[in-house]
């Protein structure tokens, strides 16, 4: 009788463990393959849409500012600056740029927004920070291990590597200057910086959201480089 009861408990335990195992296997399959499939479809559709969006945005480009920022010292003669090409803001969820990093063979369409829904589509630009190619600190975030894992190998970048961003302005090239590991709450990495910078953020280490890997790169070539250099001088 006791032996029968024992074997029944063993059977229940066995089935429960099998169920948990199946659930974990399903979870991993979903995260590692289904999310990649969802992302590859959205990236393919966005690549087509981006061609149209970029053409439209090139028409909307304007250049309102050709003078230096105001200075309290009135005796200083302010030289005329090169033209700053200002790109209009982008609605959240819309593709507007292409991010190319040769070192890690990345070529991804970038969307506006860093909310959960947008980041499932591809790397997202943080609203409130300048667009890539503009003066200031443009921030782009992306998934590390799921949803197409665009930033899976971001840790392979080294100082000096080039990052290209194509927007309606044209292609802006950045050079990696700093690689940091910070807490997810370290919002100071998104603060504005003198010059023109691109900050890439992703989860760290792989398969964990405990920290953030940060790549900070400085503009070294692009349509607004002359303006940025003139302001810095």
């Amino acid at each position: 009788m006791a032996a029968g009861k024992q074997s029944r408990y063993l059977a229940i335990t066995g089935r429960t463990l099998l169920g948990i195992g199946l659930l974990i296997a399903l979870f991993l399959f979903y995260q590692l393959f289904v999310t990649d499939f969802i992302n590859s479809r959205s990236q393919a559709a966005a690549a087509d849409e981006l061609v149209v969006v970029l053409a439209q945005r090139r028409d909307d480009l304007k250049s309102p500012s050709t003078t230096a920022p105001s200075n309290t010292t009135t005796t200083v003669q302010v030289a005329e600056l090169p033209e700053l090409i200002v790109e209009p803001e982008v609605p959240v969820g819309e593709p507007f740029a292409r991010l190319i990093i040769d070192r890690i063979a990345l070529d991804a369409v970038v969307f506006e927004g860093v909310d959960r829904t947008t980041l499932k589509l591809g790397p997202g630009h943080m609203p409130g920070t300048p667009l890539p190619g503009q003066p200031g600190n443009a921030v782009i975030s992306g998934h590390r291990t799921t949803y197409g894992r665009p930033f899976y190998e971001l840790d392979l970048l080294v100082v000096g590597d080039e990052i290209e961003v194509e927007t309606a302005l044209g292609i802006s090239t950045y050079s990696v200057r700093e690689i940091l590991i910070v807490a997810p709450t370290d919002v100071w990495v998104t603060d504005n910086i003198d010059g023109a910078w691109l900050t890439l953020t992703t989860c760290h280490p792989r398969f964990s959201a405990a920290e953030r890997l940060i790549i900070q790169a400085e503009l070294i070539d692009g349509p607004n480089l002359e303006y940025v250099e003139a302001v810095a001088a």
């Binding site: 999310t35 943080m126 975030s141 998934h143 998104t190 989860c203 959201a209 953030r212």
Partner: protein, 40 residues
């Protein structure tokens, strides 16, 4: 329980189960990779 009631129960139960699994996977997925955004 009639046959059609059993079928409806199985279909509804499956739908609820799939929805629950989806939300569970999404929640657990955030622990693996939350998207990399700063400040959240």
């Amino acid at each position: 329980m009639k046959r059609w009631q059993r079928v409806v129960l199985i279909v509804l139960g499956s739908l609820v189960g799939i929805a629950a699994l989806f939300f569970l996977f999404e929640w657990a997925g955030d622990l693996l990779d939350s998207g990399g955004a700063i400040g959240g």
